[in-house]
């Protein structure tokens, strides 16, 4: 186990990157503590897998350093870094039995037979694979194979960090949930530092103590699931996390208050118009919007029933605004007004949060 530090990390797949877009990973500084569970969350192509491969040593970064317990490992190969990685598609050694698959990383490192046997059986029990140890790994189902991939990482008790690159992509939905809770349980038992890459917010939010949201090679926000939900630092985080995502409406700042469509929106803190520059927007999650008699004028467009609650799509202030309603609430038809909960309304300048927002300040 180790704590991990990334220092001014940059990577480009091109030999001579010039413009900003040439960089797959743009200047990242992160510190992860020993034994934590972290998630890298972001849409496809945001650089999260690149970042993961840099940490594991499969890729050498163009610039910057990687520290394991303050030791610089940037130049070390994956074997020397002593890490484990589980890939999107289960990697198993087809011709070997489940037992041999699990024993493989230990045998390659010359661990003695008795110890190999003990570790393999221990991990097989942990993963509930003990009754199929003598079977050929090729015949297993996708989730069984993925368990073996995890097992090959877990058998070594000295791994610095375990990494997961979208490990549940090929798993059936009903097994996803099982495997995910298994993963969480494993983390609590072995207390290894774990990094989990995914584009699925549910996976990230349920697995990780801390989530790193990435976009176009940059880290947009690092925080606990609650922080990301209640106080998105960037409109992208607001959009990406939550279903439906955060509503974003153009607004103006006047006399210390926010105005949408010349209608005053109360905030918890005062903003002075001189302090703000750039394109201003107001962000509020659908959970914190209500229908009222007097407020921001809106037009109800359509209603979708998701079972648990109803999602009402409205138009207000020149933008699309979603409202979440409980089953017993009365939804007005046609023209109506909206009110935003001041404690959960944030103001964004050029997409970055500058004021207002949730209670986690």
């Amino acid at each position: 186990m180790a704590k991990i530090g990334l220092r001014k990390l940059r990577h480009s797949y091109l030999t001579n990157p010039t413009v900003d877009a040439d960089w797959a990973v743009k200047e990242i500084d992160i510190d992860w503590s020993d034994g934590g569970a972290y998630a890298l969350l972001g849409p496809s192509g945001c650089g999260k897998t690149t970042l993961l491969n840099i940490i594991s040593g499969l890729l050498t970064p163009s610039e910057g350093r990687i520290l394991f317990d303050e030791r610089d490992v940037t130049a070390l190969a994956p074997v020397e870094r002593n890490i484990a990685q589980v890939f999107q598609f289960p990697v198993i050694y087809d011709t070997m039995t489940v037992y041999d698959n699990l024993a493989f990383p230990l045998r390659n490192r010359g661990v003695d037979k008795a110890r190999v046997d003990r570790r393999v059986r221990e991990i097989a029990t942990l993963l509930e694979l003990d009754d199929m140890l003598s079977r050929r790994a090729a015949g297993l189902t996708a989730d069984g194979k993925q368990k073996i991939s995890m097992g090959r990482g877990l058998v070594r008790d000295d791994v610095n960090v375990m990494m997961f690159d979208e490990p549940l992509t090929v798993i059936d939905p009903h097994l996803k949930w099982k495997l995910r809770s298994k993963l969480k349980e494993l983390h609590q038992r072995v207390r290894a530092t774990m990094i989990y890459v995914t584009h699925d917010q549910t996976e990230a939010l349920t697995f990780a103590d801390q989530v790193v949201v990435m976009r176009e090679g940059e880290v947009v926000q690092i925080g606990t699931p609650v922080e990301l939900f209640e106080r998105p630092a960037h409109t992208f985080v607001g959009h990406f996390i939550g279903s439906p995502g955060m509503n974003v409406l153009p607004c103006r700042i006047r006399d210390g208050g926010a105005f949408v469509d010349d209608c005053h929106v109360p905030l918890v803190e005062k903003l002075v118009s001189q302090d703000v520059a750039g394109q201003l927007e107001l962000g509020v999650r659908p959970e914190f919007v209500r229908f009222v008699d007097d407020g921001v004028p809106a037009q109800v467009v359509r209603i979708a029933d998701t079972g648990r609650h109803r999602v009402v799509e409205t138009r207000a202030g020149g933008a699309r605004v979603f409202v979440l309603c409980g089953d017993d609430e009365v939804i007005p038809e046609g023209a109506t007004h909206l009110a935003f909960d001041p404690a959960h309304t944030g103001i964004y300048a050029d997409s970055w949060l500058i004021g207002g927002g949730g209670p986690a300040q």
């Binding site: 491969n53 499969l58 190969a77 994956p78 990685q85 990697v91 070997m96 990383p105 390659n108």
Partner: protein
């Protein structure tokens, strides 16, 4: 139960039946027909029974040709399969060199078989051929028109040159279908190059290698054109393989009965060997 009977399907299958009949069944049955009869021309036939088969199986000439054939096939398989895999392993997986390598590899396969024979014939001539001159210049007495060993050496070298590419291309196709994640996982698991080959590359190449071995076995077992052009089966009978012997019997001596019997034995041997080999190679997959 009222089951609707509809015989129209036969109508659609008929063209295939006709085609198969004309390109396989009828020629094969003609051969069977010849193999049990004796003829002295003028389309007059005498019933012979299994006489030709008995005579053939006891004939030293046939046994010698078969022996040469088996040794030849064994040697070229032992060379071409490992060599093909080795070359495929050194080929790049990505980048501009991939197409260059593929085209270079495909070139020998594009050359007509008798041209290959003629090329190597001239190439190996001791007086004017580059290969012949070069070997003799090294102080080794080499003349494939007179020395059986030299003739064998040249024939095998020619076959390796001509057909290793096929094994390379098949093995390469198997190799590039392995996702990067396998190599990355092996790297993380601390696997050494031999283990990567043994546990990742070889298992993933198994299917295509089965095909490669089968194709090379059948092709080399039936080899005719290239040694015929290169050595004409000589010197003496040193490189007279089964096909060459068969043509000598059928067209040289016009012994249609024995030639037909020989064809059938030859055909059954090839079929049997292929079947046994395929069954053994694919047996484990079922489990």
């Amino acid at each position: 139960m009222n089951k609707t009977e509809n015989q129209r399907a036969w109508f659609f299958v008929a063209p295939v039946l006709v085609l198969v009949a004309f390109n396989a069944l009828i020629p094969l049955m003609t051969v069977v027909n010849y193999s049990v009869q004796e003829t002295f021309g003028n389309n007059v036939f005498f019933w012979q029974g299994v006489g030709w088969f008995e005579q053939l199986l006891h004939s030293e000439r046939f046994q010698a040709a078969l022996g040469r054939q088996i040794v030849f096939t064994a040697i070229i398989l032992a060379i071409e399969i490992p060599l093909g895999v080795a070359i495929a392993l050194t080929m790049p997986r990505k980048g501009p060199w991939v197409s260059v390598c593929l085209v270079l590899m495909a070139l020998p396969l594009l050359i007509p078989w008798n041209v290959v024979g003629a090329m190597w014939n001239i190439f190996a001539l001791p007086e004017i051929g580059l290969l012949g001159r070069a070997i003799n210049a090294l102080g080794i007495d080499y003349n494939m028109t007179q020395q059986p060993l030299a003739a064998w050496f040249t024939t095998i070298l020619m076959d390796v040159w001509h057909w290793t590419s096929l094994v390379v291309l098949l093995a390469y196709a198997g190799l590039i279908s392995i996702p990067d994640a396998y190599y990355q996982a092996a790297e993380i698991d601390g696997a050494r190059p031999w283990a990567v080959f043994r546990y990742i590359q070889l298992p993933k190449m198994k299917q295509v290698l089965t095909i490669a071995i089968l194709l090379r076995f059948i092709d080399s077992f039936m080899i005719y054109t290239e040694p015929f052009v290169l050595t004409g089966g000589g010197p003496g009978n040193a490189t007279t393989f089964l096909s060459i012997d068969l043509v000598k019997v059928a067209l040289g001596q016009f012994d249609l009965g024995p030639a037909a019997a020989m064809s059938l034995i030859y055909f059954i041997m090839t079929l049997l060997a292929s079947w046994v080999f395929y069954t053994v190679m694919t047996k484990n997959d079922a489990r």
